[in-house]
Structures are given as C-alpha cells and as structure tokens.
C-alpha cells in the first residue's frame, strides 16, 4: 500500500503543475469534515510544501500539509486518514479519466461508488439530497421545551445554546474586579479616596481580577433515568470550562468518576457512552450513598472550600441504604459555600421530595431547582451567581 502510494506520488509530482490546485481540493475535502480552513491556511500550506520540498515522498507531502493545516488535537488525530482518503479518491477519478480516454466504449458505464465519490469531489460535499425546511411552530421556544421532548435536530440546537450561555456566564464572572495592592489603577476609587488631600493623589488604589472566585463542583447522576439530563448538563459544564477554569465535573451511578480531565481530551458524548456501558452500572440503579462517601473521603478537602458551589444533579432515586446520607450532606454543607440540588423531576406540578435521598439532603441544601429545560438552567445560574 505504501509503495503504491509512493509510486502514485512520484507520478503526481512529475505531472503536477499546480500545487495550489491540489491544495484547494484538499482543503475543500477537509472542510466537509468540519475543518475550518480559510485562505490563510491555504497560503501557509503552499509555503509549507515549498519549504519541505526536499522530502520527496508521499508521507512527506502529507506531513507538510498537516503541519500547516491542522489547528487542534481532534484535527491532528483525523488528518492522516482524511488525507489518505482524499488521495485515493483523486487517484480513482484520475483513473476514471484515463480509462475513458483509452477505451471510449467504456465511458458510458458508470459504477455507483465512483459516481458518489466524484459527486462529492465536484460539489464540495454539499449534499443536494436532503433539503432543509424551516418549520415555524408557535408557542414554546426551544428554551422552554423540556429536554425529553426535543427532537434530534433540536437537541443539537439546544446543546449549542447551552454552551453559548455557559460561556457568557463565565465571562461575566471573569470580569469581576476587586481591590488590590498592585496592577491596574482603579480611577474612580482613587479620586474618591484622595479627595481629602485636595487633588494630590497620595494613595494609589488598584484593582485586579478577582482571584478568590467561585468554584463550581457538580456531581451528575448518570443512571438510566438521568441519562438525558446529564448529557445536557455536561455540555453546559464543558462550555463553562472553556472560559472558566474552576470547574470540576464528577459523574456517578454505582461509582463516582472524576471526569473533568477526560472531558478536555475527548468528545463528551464518547466519555458518557463509555461510562454508561460500563458493566457495573448497567441495569443497576444509582448508589448515591456510596458515591457521596467516595466524594467526601477523597475529594471534599481538595476540591471544595468556602468559595465552592456544589451542585448535585439527580432525580434522587437510590437503591442502597440512605442512613449515612445525612452525614455526607452535612459535611459537604459545612465546607462549601452553597449546596444545591438540581432535580429534573421538579418539572411536575405535584412533585414532593419524598425519596430517602432527597429527604436526607433537604435540611442541608441551600436550594433545590428544576432543570428540565434550558430556561430552568438559566434561572438557576442567574439566581446563584
């Protein structure tokens, strides 16, 4: 395979007069796979190929393009395969042309797979098979539609809204400034404090970004009943974490998992899927008690302090003994700034906190909020920030 490509490469380098043409097609192919590449990247790629001219191999060409075109880890991992696919399709379409020229009788025959690949190549991936129709439905906006009622397309839209909201929220918190001893001058306070000196600026007053700021810790229930809500909430946490550092995410069903670092490195849906398909959590219900015990024993001291807001996202259904739960909630409450319970079931009008878990928790909570739709989420955060 490698030798075949090497041979193809040599032929291409002999034949090819336009590197830009090749790159334009490559970039078009990459764009269909969600690489956001523009004219700047194109000129970088041209320069890259010129700089690494002496590499003289297929792998070298691929590496030169990769160096210039890749802008993130996800792209880094996908690039080589995408390049190989693109190369193969180019060869196929090139062969198709040669075949047509050499044997005109065959030119009428079109085989299905080849047609599809050329179609994609020509139309730059725009699929004309599906047509989007805008649907107008008066009444509930997406923000107020409960998550369980969303259709597949709507889910994607809501996830994007969630992430946007998270980032706006993070920026709001980031912009807070407090009094400091060095840094940026706080002009307003400066003038005010120095009025008594009659115009002489004796005392300098500074401001700097608030460093003792709120930290968020969330414990998400990933048992079957909570799967959907957790998924949305985790997208929120990711959006928040992009702009705001002090965010820790845990998930639990029968065991507690600390997933903040995993969320940075992989696609969140993959992370959730891999957790949900774990043999131990399949079919069995939540064990809030054990998970909280693990949290309190191993993470409470390190991650929770008087600036931390702890959130528990769960419907409260617990299969195990709830006798120790009060203790755990009490300890968390003692250490944290605020503790909140986010319960999707609160969307129902006749909800009462009646499960053992909820009953144990209620005395130690600062609040319980419904989060079965995006508006609920917004209202919660606006209330606590």
């Amino acid at each position: 395979m490698a030798d075949e490509r090497q041979a193809e490469f040599f032929e291409w380098s002999q034949r090819s007069t336009s590197i830009s043409h090749f790159l334009v097609e490559l970039i078009r192919h990459l764009r269909t796979k969600e690489f956001k590449i523009g004219p700047n990247e194109l000129s970088d790629a041209v320069a890259s190929i010129q700089v690494f001219n002496g590499l003289g191999s297929y792998a070298g060409l691929r590496a030169a393009c990769r160096t210039a075109l890749v802008k993130g880890r996800r792209q880094y991992l996908l690039f080589d395969n995408l390049f190989d696919t693109f190369w193969k399709e180019k060869q196929r379409s090139k062969d198709a042309k040669i075949e047509d020229r050499s044997s005109p009788s065959r030119s009428l025959r079109k085989t299905e797979p080849r047609f599809d690949s050329i179609k994609e190549w020509l139309y730059a991936g725009k699929h004309h098979d599906t047509v989007e129709i805008a649907v107008y439905s008066p009444g509930k906006s997406l923000s107020q539609t409960p998550f369980i009622e969303l259709s597949d397309e709507e889910i994607q839209a809501v996830i994007q809204l969630i992430q946007k909201y998270a980032q706006t929220l993070a920026r709001q918190i980031n912009r807070r400034r407090i009094k400091a001893n060095r840094g940026q001058i706080d002009l307003r306070k400066l003038i005010r404090k120095n009025l008594k000196y009659g115009g002489e600026m004796i005392n300098l007053i500074y401001k700097r970004p608030d460093q003792n700021r709120t930290q968020f810790v969330v414990l998400c229930d990933v048992s079957r009943s909570m799967e959907l809500y957790t998924r949305f909430f985790i997208h929120f946490m990711i959006g928040l974490h992009r702009a705001y550092r002090d965010v820790e995410t845990f998930v639990f069903s029968t065991q507690l998992h600390h997933i903040t670092s995993k969320l940075n490195l992989s696609d969140p849906d993959h992370v959730l899927e891999s957790l949900l398909s774990d043999a131990e959590s399949w079919g069995s219900g939540t064990r809030i008690s054990e998970s909280l015990k693990h949290f309190v024993d191993s993470h409470l001291h390190a991650r929770v302090n008087s600036n931390t807001i702890v959130m528990i996202l769960s419907d409260g259904w617990d299969t195990a003994d709830a006798s120790m739960l009060s203790q755990y909630f009490r300890r968390i409450r003692q250490r944290a700034k605020h503790v909140y319970w986010l319960n999707p079931l609160m969307g129902h009008a006749d909800f009462r906190p009646e499960t053992a878990a909820l009953k144990a928790a209620v005395p130690y909570l600062h609040g319980m909020y419904p989060v079965h739709h995006l508006d609920g989420l917004r209202r919660f955060f606006n209330a606590i920030i």
């Binding site: 970088d44 320069a47 700089v51 890749v70 880890r73 980031n174 940026q184 300098l204 974490h241 702009a243």
Partner: protein, 293 residues
C-alpha cells in the same frame, strides 16, 4: 535553515524530537507564525522554547501565564510611584506643562513587561508564553491583537512597532480549550507521551550514568503506569527525575520495595500513589512481559 539542520541542532542540544516537531518549528520560523504546542504535562513543550533560544542564539523572554493575568503584568505598566514623585519634584520647575507631561510619559517611566520587551528587543528574541490555558479568554483575545499586528498602542506614547518579530512558542496543558481565533493564528503542534523507544533514548541521553537494564525497566514501567486511570499522569520530566535519583543511588534493578520508596518522585498525588501501590505487583509483571517483546 533546512529541516535536517533543525533536527540535528535539536539533537545536539539534547532535545530528542521527531520529524513533526522539527517541521512545525521550521515552518513557524519561516512563516513568522507563533507555534502553539499542546500536550499532556511534562512531555517537553516548554523545552522547545529553551532549546530554540540556544540554537538561534536569541534571548529567551518568558511569560508564565496564570489566572488573572492581564495587560499590566504582561504588556506594560506605568511606574506610578515614580511618576508621582517626579510630578512633585517638578512642581516648581520652569518647564511647561507639555514638557512635564512628555517627560512623565516617556520610556523612563515605562515598565516593560515580557510582551513589550520581546517586541522592542534590540536583537530578535524567543518569546515563551507558558501555560496559556491558565489565563482567561480575555487575555487570549488581547494577546491575539499583539500577535497579529506586532505592534502595541500605548495611548500616552503612541504606537510601538516591533523591531524584530520574535519566535513565539505558546504552550498549553489542555486544562481548558483555547479559543479558535488563537488556534488559527498559530501553527499547531501536538506532543504526546513518547513511544517506549523514544523515551528510552531520552532517558539514556539525559542520565548517562544509568545502568542500561534499569533504564529499560524504568521506561517500560512508566509506560504501564500511564495506562492506568490516574488523576495526573506522570510525564517524561517525572521519568527523568526518577531515573536521575535511582542513578545517583546506584541501583540496578527495579523491585517492589524500591518503587514504593522512591515513586513519590514520579506521582505527586496521594490518590494516584495509592492506586499505584495497590497495583504494584501487576505493574511489575506487565513490565517484565513488555520488556520481553
């Protein structure tokens, strides 16, 4: 500069790289685009800047990013105290208001922070922006301005253009995802944990007195540890620290006791320590298997 020269120069300075790293470095220099290096902790991201400053014979200007980093700490700040004193001193002098103002807002009273230093440096420099994921988004967008235009506007002085465009290395541990605008402005390089062969080469190079068998055991063992589910995986830097320590103590083989006693050099987190201790026999077993292959 050619690719082979870069590879050779890096090697000479003790930085064992691969082709992708060298290509990214060279292209970054040629295109005058900053190099964004991402990867897990301790794999040699910061070292690139240090090594390149030696190779290119340029001053290394380092800005260690942290939460709350802003323009006054990274770009410039007026020396307010001195300005006030100067103002007091000149109260009775004969200078006009314009002259006094011009003096007060001159370079004499300007504290140059790393970004401004790098731009106005008389000789070309290497600018290292370390751990930029620890700074916030606001800083990123502000940095982007500087990296795009290579000039800084100081309202009282005017626009300062770069005398030389520095070779910029930006590192990130991926604690937080960086903004797309910044990523597109830079050339991206991902450095992962090295392969067993590469790590062995690094250890042998950096710790020359180390017994060869032990070096191999260390490498394979580290490889096994990294497969575990830990809070903080140890990087190459930690492996080197451990190797150096064991070399100084003149050990020749890894065994359970030795690891228990010394592994604190590699794992700095008590939960991970506990996890490693409990799986120690398995890890050693897997190490032996791995070494036979």
């Amino acid at each position: 500069m050619k690719l082979e020269e870069v590879v050779q120069a890096l090697n000479d300075e003790g930085y064992i790289s691969d082709r992708q790293i060298s290509m990214s470095i060279l292209l970054s220099i040629k295109l005058n685009k900053p190099l964004l290096v991402e990867g897990p902790a301790g794999v040699g991201k910061t070292e690139i800047a240090k090594v390149m400053s030696k190779i290119l014979d340029r001053r290394l200007i380092r800005l260690q990013c942290y939460e709350g980093l802003d323009a006054s700490q990274s770009l410039y700040e007026w020396n307010y105290q001195r300005q006030l004193l100067q103002l007091k001193l000149e109260e009775r002098s004969d200078k006009t208001v314009e002259e006094k103002e011009a003096h007060l807002f001159s370079e004499e009273f300007l504290l140059k922070r790393p970004l401004l230093s790098a731009i106005t440096s008389e000789q070309p420099s290497v600018l290292l922006l370390d751990e930029i994921d620890r700074a916030d988004e606001e800083f990123e967008s502000f940095l982007l301005e500087v990296l795009s235009d290579w000039q800084i506007s100081i309202p009282e002085i005017g626009t300062i253009k770069a005398t030389h465009i520095p070779f910029v290395v930006v590192t990130s541990n991926r604690v937080r995802e960086l903004s797309e605008a910044l990523r597109r402005r830079c050339l991206y390089l991902w450095i992962d944990y090295p392969t067993i062969e590469k790590e062995l080469e690094i250890i042998k190079r950096k710790v020359p007195g180390l017994d060869a068998e032990l070096a191999a055991e260390i490498t394979h063992f580290m490889h096994q540890v990294r497969q575990m589910e830990l809070d903080k995986h140890p990087g190459v830097a930690e492996a080197l620290d451990w190797a150096k320590a064991l070399s100084e103590l003149h050990f020749e083989h890894l065994d359970q006791d030795l690891i228990e006693d010394t592994f604190g050099i590699v794992i700095k987190n008590w939960q991970d320590q506990r996890a490693v201790q409990t799986s120690l026999t398995e890890l050693l077993e897997q190490t032996r298997v791995s070494m036979k292959l």
